[in-house]
Amino acid sequence: MSDSLQDSLYELLVESLAAWRIAGSVDRAADGSFLVRAGANDIRIERAPKHLPFRWMVTTAGRKRGALSVVAVLRQLRTALDPGYVPSNRVRIAVSPQVAS
């Protein structure tokens, strides 16, 4: 994992807890993984093994799941921590253009 991505992901995890108003902490382990603690939840985020078709593994309550990107990591993290969160909105592309062609 690059230093840049390591630092950026740490910042994103910290800011995400704040944005979702979830009391918790994010710690970085020496092996490059992250541990997010919030309430009774301990969530581990680490790099996926190279033979798997994922970039990240997210372990929640003993269950390990793959994630394709930091966006997918965020989705899993919030689903685990925020009971009111329903990831229902997907980007929708307008059928009308911004200007008449």
């Binding site: 992901l9 800011e15 995400s16 704040a18 944005a19 966006v71 997907r90 307008a94 911004q98 008449a100």
Partner: protein, 353 residues
């Protein structure tokens, strides 16, 4: 394509008076007006008199919730009647919303309804604000703040009664949406050319290029009121990869939903650096990127302006940093393996290529 403009503003803020004046101006000839009123018996449409080549349709009920499909159906209907010469050949449509309506779902309907695709283009959103009561209304009514936040132009009405606008009101408007030009209506009158000009892409690019949004940078922290509505801008020196931008939009839509009121951006896409892409989104609905032929000025930094509710700027910034770092890492790995980086999002394709 027919531009469809939206006139919004809280109850009693002077929408109908303004519209009545505009419809008497020659510049506003050939206008179809859709008036939405809340309540079983509409009245506003009786107060508006259109010229011979303009006309008014009325709908009742709350436009922003249960009758969104009615709006699309009504527009479809008048377009059909225009095509078969059963209506005057109007050149624009103006929707006057109910004073209680949230404009966001209306904009989404105009952007996404398949029956209207290719026949209309979203024009300007204009919000009227009452110089006498506007400040109180903005404090009290969340939907009023949202109407202001979503507008392309703000029109201050009744300033003749208020003996000018209160400085506090101007501060509030600047905090909610400093990028929108503020116009003054005197006795309900305004220069017709100044609003609903359907400047579209060029005017959006101009807004992003001339730095008016910088005002928000200075005052962001001091104006986080109005149900948490605020504006902020992210600026990037380096071009942004199309995939990173797509991932950013996906995450914003997923996590912010209705709290992302509006996004306007001019972006230097790494894959097409010579042509700026203009982005425009309302909540989780985004127009396909439009490409300007060239940069409006020497300024080539990407500028993304967000109008949001309860979304911290720091989170959006961290999100963009993280997706950019991840995409860069993937690209580097793929380059290392002598493979071309994937371009994921069809909507990001330059139409000229």
């Amino acid at each position: 394509m027919i531009p469809v403009a939206v006139l919004t503003g809280f109850l009693g803020s002077g929408k109908t008076t303004l519209l009545s004046h505009l419809l008497r101006q020659p510049e506003f000839a050939r206008t179809a007006v859709l008036i939405n009123e809340f309540g079983e018996v509409g009245l506003d449409h009786e107060l508006v008199e259109a010229s011979d080549d303009s006309f008014i349709e009325l709908s009742t009920g709350c436009l922003c919730c249960k009758v969104r499909s009615d709006l699309a159906r009504t527009i479809d209907d008048i377009l059909c009647r225009r095509e078969c010469a059963k209506l005057p050949p109007f050149d624009r449509i103006v929707i006057e919303t109910s004073g209680l309506a949230d404009p966001a779902p209306i904009l989404q309907t105009l952007m996404t309804d398949v029956k209207l695709a290719g026949r209309i283009v979203l024009g300007d959103v204009v919000a009227t604000v009452d110089a006498v009561n506007g400040l109180d209304t903005l404090e009290r009514e969340e939907v009023s703040a949202k109407q202001v936040a979503l507008a392309d132009h703000l029109v201050l009405t009744k300033s003749d009664l208020a003996n000018g606008a209160q400085p506090q009101l101007l501060d509030r408007l600047a905090a909610l949406n400093s990028g929108a030009p503020l116009l003054y209506a005197h006795h309900g009158k305004i220069e017709p050319q100044s609003i609903f000009d359907a400047g579209g892409l060029e005017s959006r690019a101009k807004f992003l290029d001339d730095g008016t949004w910088l005002v928000n940078e200075a005052c962001e922290h001091s104006h986080d009121r109005h149900a948490g509505i605020k504006t902020f801008a992210l600026v990037r020196e380096a071009p942004i990869r199309a995939v990173a931008l797509t991932l950013l939009l996906e995450a914003l839509a997923e996590h912010c939903g209705a709290d992302l009121l509006r996004l306007k951006a001019i972006v230097q896409i790494a894959e097409y650096p010579e042509k700026p892409a203009v982005l425009h989104g309302v909540q989780h609905v985004f127009h396909p990127p439009a490409w300007l032929k060239r940069w409006p000025s020497g300024e080539r930094r990407s500028r993304l302006v967000f109008i949001t509710r309860r979304i911290p700027r720091a989170w959006v910034e961290a999100l963009l940093d993280a997706v950019e770092a991840e995409v860069a890492e993937v690209e580097e790995a793929e380059t290392h393996q002598n493979r071309r980086p994937a371009r994921r999002h069809a909507a990001m394709r330059d139409p000229d290529h």
